[in-house]
Symmetry: C2
Subunit: 195 residues, 2 copies
DNA sequence: ATAAAAATAGAACGGTCGTTCAATTTATAG
DNA sequence: CTATAAATTGAACGACCGTTCTATTTTTAT
């Protein structure tokens, strides 16, 4: 009988949801397993029934978060035609969907010498995903003659760091009020790479 | 007799030096008072002879770091004449002198709900300093007719977030290899604001 | 209804945390 | 040389950390 007989899957999701919020608000180290236990309403011990340990739980959340971000982008990407429009679209996608507060915890974990080698590697692989998405847009723009020929890797890093820097503002300001800023950054950037 | 009779001032500086390194490497939470004690060679208890607590020690270091950054900039600022040159100079000043790793600990401390209200306020005031320096350059450029008239506050935030984003790369890459990138960011930015 | 399996709780572990405090050593002043 | 004040130590505190383990409750299959 291959019908799922038990259903603690929702419990697991509840825990992940609360853990996501806590890690986002307080960072990795400052969020304790006790915190997650209290917030989710399940005992501390039970969290270890679903997750091997705190570190793996965090990495799982980070992976899931980044995967969702990327899938959402893949979903809306066809809405834009030219590369310039894609870049504007991407900026807003980052503003509204890139989970800066959670992902910040990744740096924390990665910079801790006691973190497992594997977790650090997995987090590093995540950081590569958005860069790949930016690069794809730039490549398209060049191939279609919309952008100048130039150093794609460098451009990728430049737009990536700019959007990343702007994302820091999401901690303290309303997302909606930042739209202008994100768009203007793209405008300035395009001014230098468009033909 | 107003001559300083005892000299534990050097001890204090030694502790601050080691604490600076540890906070930079491991962040605020992950650096323990024990770590600082071991690294400095003085007992844990003695650290509390010089500093009220861990939080105040960190804030002191952050303030000192930012003050030094600003003074150094004030020192070299006259080397540049036009505002554009100042912006290039500032980018490199940020690259080589802005202590991103330490200051990152400030975000950690500030996002911890148990941090004292006062410390968070002091850290916030620090974050304002570089923005003021950027704004001054932009204002000068406009007043001297070198830059277009535009939204100075917005420009300040845009260049500030870009440099801040680029600074994240200092964790993983050689400073020298980043010079190009910082300069190119300024070039692109200037392309949009120069007359 | 019963036995087996899954889900959950909660106590307990050794360890580390930031902080305090009394005791001791060291340097200075008279 | 002695008394005093500064500098420094190290043990001790209660609290909390991530994790483990055993016991208990709940669900499922027969």
């Amino acid at each position: 009988m291959n019908k799922r007989r038990y259903n603690s899957e929702t419990t697991k999701l509840e825990i992940m949801e609360k853990a996501f919020l806590l890690f986002s608000q307080k960072g990795y180290t400052q969020t304790s397993v006790s915190d997650i236990s209290k917030a989710s309403g399940y005992s501390k011990g039970h969290i270890y029934y679903h997750f091997e340990n705190k570190e793996k739980l965090f990495v799982l959340l980070a992976q899931q978060t980044m995967k969702e971000w990327y899938l959402k982008w893949m979903d809306k990407e066809p809405d834009f035609t030219c590369a310039s429009d894609k870049l504007y679209g991407m900026a807003l996608h980052v503003l509204y969907n890139y989970q800066t507060p959670l992902l910040k915890g990744g740096q924390e974990l990665a910079s801790n010498p006691e973190s497992s080698h594997e977790s650090v590697k997995q987090l590093y692989e995540l950081a590569v995903i958005p860069m790949g998405a930016y690069r794809a847009i730039l490549v398209q723009g060049i191939e279609e003659g919309e952008f100048k020929k130039g150093n794609v890797e460098e451009w990728t890093v430049l737009i990536g760091t700019w959007l990343g820097g702007l994302c820091q503002l999401t901690n303290t300001q309303e997302l909606h009020s930042l739209e202008r800023l994100f768009k203007n950054a793209v405008s300035i950037f395009l001014g230098s790479i468009q033909k």
